[in-house]
Amino acid sequence: MTWETVIGLEIHAQLATRSKIFSAASTDFGAAPNTQASAVDLGLPGVLPVVNREVVRMAVRFALATDASITRRSVFARKNYFYPDLPKGYQISQMAFPIVGEGHINITLPDGQQKGIGLTRAHLEEDAGKSVHDLFEGMTGIDLNRAGTPLLEIVSEPDMRSATEAVAYARYMHSLVRYIDICDGNMQEGSFRCDANVSVRPAGSDTLGTRTEIKNLNSFRFLERAIDFEVERQIDILEDGGKVIQETRLYDADRDETRSMRSKEEANDYRYFPDPDLPPLVIDEAFIDAVRETMPELPVARRTRFIDELDIPAADAQALCADRQIADYFEAVFEGRKFAPKLAANWVLGELFARLNKEDVDLADAPVSATLLGDLIARVDDGTLSGKLGKQVFDALWGGEQDVDAVIEARGLKQITDTGAIEAMIDEVIAANPSQLAEYRAGKEKLLSFFVGAVMKASKGKANPAQLNQMLRDKLKA
């Protein structure tokens, strides 16, 4: 039998606010334990939550970016369960009335195909603290710095049909939340976490199979591997005549497998009810309009503009728009310049990216600013530099040089375009290699490159290659 895989993802994106969702404590990562937990975060007797307006603004940004409905009157609810790192004994979340309703996005799969994915909802909630099990002999430590950190839980429809699609969707979301400045996307620090709901069914069936929920997927690679493992596991069970149990499973990266965490029967009854400490969250049109004003151009629109208006090839446009910082950098490189944006794209995706990757540097920390790169490309475009010399200048800029023309001057990298000078060098080379000249003229045209190389060498690499080529051909013919 052929099986069809059905996947839906729940993504927890930590909202990049400075303070927590219901208190004024800082959300900075990595502080000493319990130094960023206020009376509210500790759940002390008598404290009350107050919604951080910035969190609401970010949720609305998300809704606007995903073509989603915005709930004008959403309701915070309490999810009740006991856990030592859950200070109040309940998590404030949203249940029946989430702030973001149904939405829709289009993702690009690795083969270039577009696919639409439905979003069920996105709701606001607070994160719990952390239990630290390995620091104290026989005891567990509690760090409540993370307690109350704002999360947006983004729930997709079960629209993905393979691990590849799930990863493409997760990558899209990862890019989008950074694009609209609501999440730093740091997966190591847990700012962007995925849970996958996975089921399989006979191909052609329109009823869903029993699903399992896989937790602890803190990289795209783990997401892909965990889904692949889980799909295999479920198919094996079904083909052996067994039944998949609805349960929560944990992905173990070391063993590359999923294992049961708790079954549906063991699941908590969370006793959800509207939080009486928080009135319904009312959002008016003026608030939404004000947020809309501050929205950046979204990746899809930007990519289309790059292709249609800037004549950038589709694959390059996709690569440039994957990250807002890259796209912004790219646009800054050619802004106000005479050269074609395409040339800027080549340099950004070529030389710059190669260097960033090689040296493992983030774009934000790159020593070559967009303005400097623009100066450099302008000198290539106006013929002062050949492409090859340009790369030498780029190296100098990467090393800390701050003035393109000064580098060209100081290192004598200026391209030789004086026909007299080039002609003299050609004549010298031809004169020194009479046998090669004879062979060439006898029809061994491959030797052209020998002559080009020799003249280029004589010019110390500075001869304009196009000029050199043309003049050399003419001379060799004669």
């Binding site: 002390l44 030592p84 200070p87 109040k88 004994g89 006793r271 009486p276």
Partner: protein, 484 residues
């Protein structure tokens, strides 16, 4: 000087005929003398009180004083204080000292009031007799074998026995008004949201409201002035403007329409209580008010709805008392479940446990719609009853409680009988409306309370009616013989 009302004391302080230090010293002596018989105070900070009093006297000299500067007050032990323990009447919070101060405590201190100590109460404000305090029951100053009411029983006994000029209370289903009635004092539950709940340990968040308890409506007006106001730390606190509560105290009652719900004068209402309340209504009629019989048809649903909603919220609110970060922790926990089970099992008393169980049940999957959701629908019906009634009348009046103070132990084995004591009070909480209880005489030597209820944010009207009533009666002047 303890026979003076708070307003009278304030006037003497303002004129310089009385010093805060003398007043505070006087109360400290009375507390020393009488508290043992009542068990009304759980904690007293005499040194801090003396210091605050002398600071208040200094402030008087600079001419910077407000009407309440230097007036002594007791705070219900549900309000967090950073200088004294806050136990909420529970073993769970024995010796717990809050690192921060409740908004109400701050507000009263800002107004210059001197804190004498913390008042006993039913554990986590759950009770109508103050028998549920881990620190022992409070006696009713009128007859010490009687209960003072609850949950603000300590506060009521303190004011009735003149062991402070005033006290703060909280009211979730009648916890200010019922003990005020039982102890013969005046207490007002303001409109929900009028007073910040920040730092007031939550019982049922959508019903809880802090308010003043004192001898007279005039005193309550002064106290509420200092207590009320918007607080950004409480999202349910109302941004509505706070009026001058004393401005209309003396307004004429002529033509005031007072609705008298027929449902209140039915089976279960004690004859003596009915008689006193009817006499009080006649007095108001004599002042020019017009009495109109009205109906609150869903009155009978209030108690069942209340005893779903309040426990449901409590079951969640009390989850933070888990032995992990503060409060009682059991000895040698074996694992996390043992820590929870024994810490909570030992820390909470039987009534609190009962309500947590009821509440958790009402919220659980499969029962939510039948209980919690249904109770919320009833709550709306109760609010609608009041809206309809207030289309025809300005104030609603009736008994605060069906009976006078009952004997200690009389109902402690019968929770339902105990809950029925809240019969007339819970509707104001369910609908968020302001309501006041004022003393209106005695039945067999025990005080009877007259309850007044008004539309939202119309505390001034309640205080006006009660003040006019107190201008022509002297029930509020009566002091229990043993505490004269």
């Amino acid at each position: 000087m303890h026979d003076k009302t708070l307003a009278e004391q304030a006037a003497l302080l303002a004129s310089g005929d009385l010093s805060s230090s003398d007043l505070v010293e006087h109360y400290l002596q009375r507390i020393e003398q009488h508290n043992e018989a009542l068990n009304a105070y759980l904690a007293i900070d005499a040194d801090a009180a003396r210091q605050a009093a002398s600071a208040a006297d200094e402030q008087r000299k600079t001419g910077n004083a407000g009407p309440l500067t230097g007036v002594p007050i007791a705070h219900k032990d549900i309000f967090c204080t950073s200088s004294m323990p806050t136990t909420c009447g529970s073993r769970m919070l024995q010796n717990f000292v809050s690192p921060y101060e409740a908004a109400v405590v701050q507000n009263m201190r800002t107004a210059g009031m001197v804190t004498l100590g913390k008042a006993n109460m039913d554990e986590f404000a759950m009770g109508s007799s103050n028998e549920n305090s881990f620190y022992g029951p409070v006696a009713n100053p009128w007859q010490t074998d009687r209960v003072p009411g609850g949950s603000s029983g300590g506060s009521a006994a303190i004011v009735a026995a003149r062991l402070a000029s005033a006290a703060t209370g909280t009211d979730t289903g009648g916890s200010i008004r019922q003990p005020a009635a039982f102890c013969g004092i005046t207490g007002i539950k303001p409109t929900y949201g009028r007073v910040s709940r920040y730092g007031m340990i939550a019982f049922a968040s959508s019903l809880d409201q802090g308010g003043p308890m004192a001898q007279t409506a005039e005193d309550c007006a002064l106290l509420l002035q200092a207590m009320a106001g918007h607080d950004l730390r409480d999202s349910t606190c109302s941004p509505a403007a706070v009026p001058d509560f004393s401005a209309e105290l003396n307004a004429d009652l002529k033509g005031l329409r007072i609705g008298v719900p027929q449902e209140y004068f039915a089976e279960g209402l004690d004859d003596g209580v009915a008689a006193r309340v009817n006499e009080a209504l006649a007095v108001l009629e004599g002042e020019g008010a017009i009495l109109k019989p009205i109906s609150l048809p869903n009155q009978g649903l209030c108690i069942p709805a209340y005893y779903i909603i309040a426990p449901a919220e409590a079951s969640s609110n009390l989850s933070r008392f888990d032995g992990v970060r503060f409060g009682h922790r059991c000895e040698n926990p074996q694992d996390i479940d043992d820590l929870y089970t024994r810490s909570r099992g030992e820390g909470f008393g039987p009534e609190v446990k009962r309500r947590i169980l009821i509440g958790a049940y009402a919220l659980s999957a499969g029962y939510y719609d039948a209980y919690y959701k249904k109770a919320q629908q009833v709550r709306q019906l109760v609010s609608d009853d009041f809206s309809n009634a207030f289309a025809e009348v300005d104030v609603i009046a009736g008994p605060t409680t069906p009976t006078t103070a009952f004997a200690r132990g009389a109902k402690s084995d019968d929770p339902v009988a105990m809950y029925l004591n809240d019969l007339f009070t819970v509707s104001a909480n369910l609908s968020g409306l302001p309501a006041l209880s004022a003393p209106c005489g005695f039945a067999e030597g025990l005080p009877v309370g007259l309850q007044l209820c008004a539309p939202a944010n119309q505390e001034s009207r309640l205080l006006n009616v009660a003040h006019r009533y107190q201008s022509v009666t002297d029930w509020h002047r009566q002091i229990p013989a043993n505490f004269a």
